[in-house]
Every structure is written in structure tokens, then in C-alpha cells.
């Protein structure tokens, strides 16, 4: 079984900082503006939207890693991470762990550099997220039951009525004319069967 990836958030951070500071190189400025890679970006020159640099799956992976290692505050907000969920607490260690990180990803800048993420996050309010059950939250009607579940009561009631008269029905069936065998549920006529009777000669 493969082990879980480590330091994903730190590596992500370094990668984004490198990309943002590429022409200038390392900087000692306390604050850096970076385009939020979790959000789509509008290109005014072409008038088109570029998709986010990280797919939702990768975003979820980073957030999961951040929650496990306590580095959630290093991630930008996005569709998978509400701004209100990002803690403001700083990490215990000022310098990032370099063990386990590929040489190309080792930080040239301090991982804890303050980054201002450019991009507006539009978070949808998921009904029932606070409760933990979103199955029926905000819906007009809950599951009304299967068809057979809805009718079973009515059916059983009708069957009980029919069973009350079953003894009488069976007796009537046993008494009807054996040879002629008319429809067993028909009424027994007082005058006898309407079919032509056997002639006497």
C-alpha cells in the first residue's frame, strides 16, 4: 500500500511563489500578490476564462493534506475551501521541512511569506452542511416511499375484508352444481341454471 504524500501544501506553496516571482527571483518583501490557482481566471485580452490550474480533485487532495498536517492556512480559498474555514493560526515552525521534498521544489523563499490571493471566491451555501446531512436539506419533499409501500396498507385492508367472507365464498363454491360448473363467483339462481335442461326422451 502506497504511503500518503507528505508536505504537499509546502510544495504547492513553493511552486506558486516561484511562478509568481519568476522574473524577479527571490524577494524579501513581506507580502506577495499571487493569482489564486484554485479559481478560474479571466483573460481580458482574449475575453475567455482560463480554467483553474489545480483540478478539484487536486484541490481536495491539498486540503486533505493541509488538515492532516495543520497547514490549511497556507492554502488559498476556493470552491473546496471556504474562506471562513481557513484558520488564522500560524504554524509552530517558521521554516518548512525540507526532508522529503524534491530538490527542484525546495523553498528558495520562506514558505510562510504572506500571500495575497487574487481572485473572488463565490461559495455556494450548501443547505444542511452545518448539520452534516445534505440529503433532504432545502428540498420540498422527502422521499415519499416506494409505490408498493404507499399502497400496502390499502391492499391489506381490502384483503382483510375479502378474507372475512372467504368461508362463505368457499361454501358457495362447494355447493354449486358440480356437473354444470358455471362461473364459481356467479350468483346461485333460485330457479336453477338458465342453460337448456336435458330432454326426457
Amino acid at each position: 500500500m502506497a504511503s500518503l504524500p507528505r508536505n504537499l501544501v509546502q510544495r504547492f506553496r513553493v511552486r506558486e511563489l516561484k511562478r509568481a516571482l519568476a522574473p524577479e527571483g527571490a524577494t524579501s518583501s513581506p507580502k506577495v500578490s499571487v493569482i489564486n490557482p484554485f479559481l478560474p481566471c479571466f483573460n481580458e485580452a482574449t475575453g475567455r476564462w482560463a480554467p483553474p490550474r489545480y483540478s478539484l480533485r487536486r484541490q481536495a487532495e491539498l486540503i486533505k493534506n493541509g488538515r492532516l498536517e495543520g497547514t490549511l492556512h497556507l492554502l488559498p480559498p476556493g470552491p473546496k475551501l471556504n474562506p471562513s474555514e481557513i484558520p488564522t493560526a500560524k504554524p509552530k515552525r517558521a521554516v518548512a521541512k525540507t526532508k522529503g521534498i524534491a530538490r527542484r521544489d525546495k523553498p528558495t523563499t520562506d514558505v510562510t511569506t504572506r500571500i495575497e490571493w487574487i481572485g473572488e471566491v463565490k461559495n455556494r451555501d450548501v443547505a444542511g452542511a452545518d448539520v452534516g446531512n445534505t440529503l433532504y436539506a432545502g428540498k420540498k419533499q422527502m422521499f415519499k416511499g416506494h409505490k408498493w409501500e404507499r399502497v400496502i396498507k390499502r391492499r391489506r385492508h381490502y384483503q382483510r375484508i375479502l378474507m372475512r367472507s372467504m368461508k362463505r365464498r368457499i361454501l358457495r363454491w362447494r355447493l354449486h352444481h358440480v356437473k354444470r360448473k358455471p362461473w364459481p363467483l356467479s350468483k346461485i339462481r333460485k330457479g336453477g341454471s338458465r342453460k337448456a335442461k336435458k330432454l326426457p326422451f
Binding site: 391492499r155 381490502y158 384483503q159 375479502l162 378474507m163 368457499i170 363454491w173 362461473w183
Partner: protein, 75 residues
């Protein structure tokens, strides 16, 4: 084991538009439906020209013996 050959009657009739050859069997498969309206049924074979079947049989839905009558539906 030789297969059972079903007794058949063959008829041929002509109309203005077409001539039709029909084959009809001597027997018929029928359903005996519970009169307790449970939907449970038994199947039986009877002669096509014979009387309609009916019997008192066990219905597992109501867990008792009830009257079963032949269905009026023709397959």
C-alpha cells in the same frame, strides 16, 4: 426419451385477401388467481374446450386456504 407431442388441430381457410393456416392446441395454460386479491396465482393446464378451473388452494400471502378461480384474461 421421446418428447410429448401435443395434440393439434389444423385448419385452413381462405378469404378474399389472403389464405390463412392456423394451428390450435388441444390444451390451454391458465392461471388460477386468488380471490383474496393478493396477486398470488397458480398455473394449470386444461382442455381448451373444457370447463373453467377453480380450486381451494393455499395462498402464502394471507397464509390460509382460499378459493382460486381461473383468470378471464386470454394470453
Amino acid at each position: 426419451m421421446a418428447a410429448k407431442s401435443k395434440a393439434k388441430s389444423v385448419s385452413f381457410h381462405e378469404t378474399e385477401e389472403k389464405s390463412v393456416l392456423t394451428v390450435s392446441l388441444r390444451t390451454l395454460i391458465v392461471r388460477l388467481i386468488s380471490t383474496a386479491q393478493t396477486g398470488f396465482f397458480y398455473t394449470k393446464v386444461r382442455r381448451r374446450l373444457g370447463p373453467k378451473l377453480s380450486a381451494v388452494k393455499y395462498d402464502p400471502v394471507v397464509k390460509s386456504r382460499v378459493l382460486f378461480v381461473e383468470s378471464r384474461k386470454k394470453k
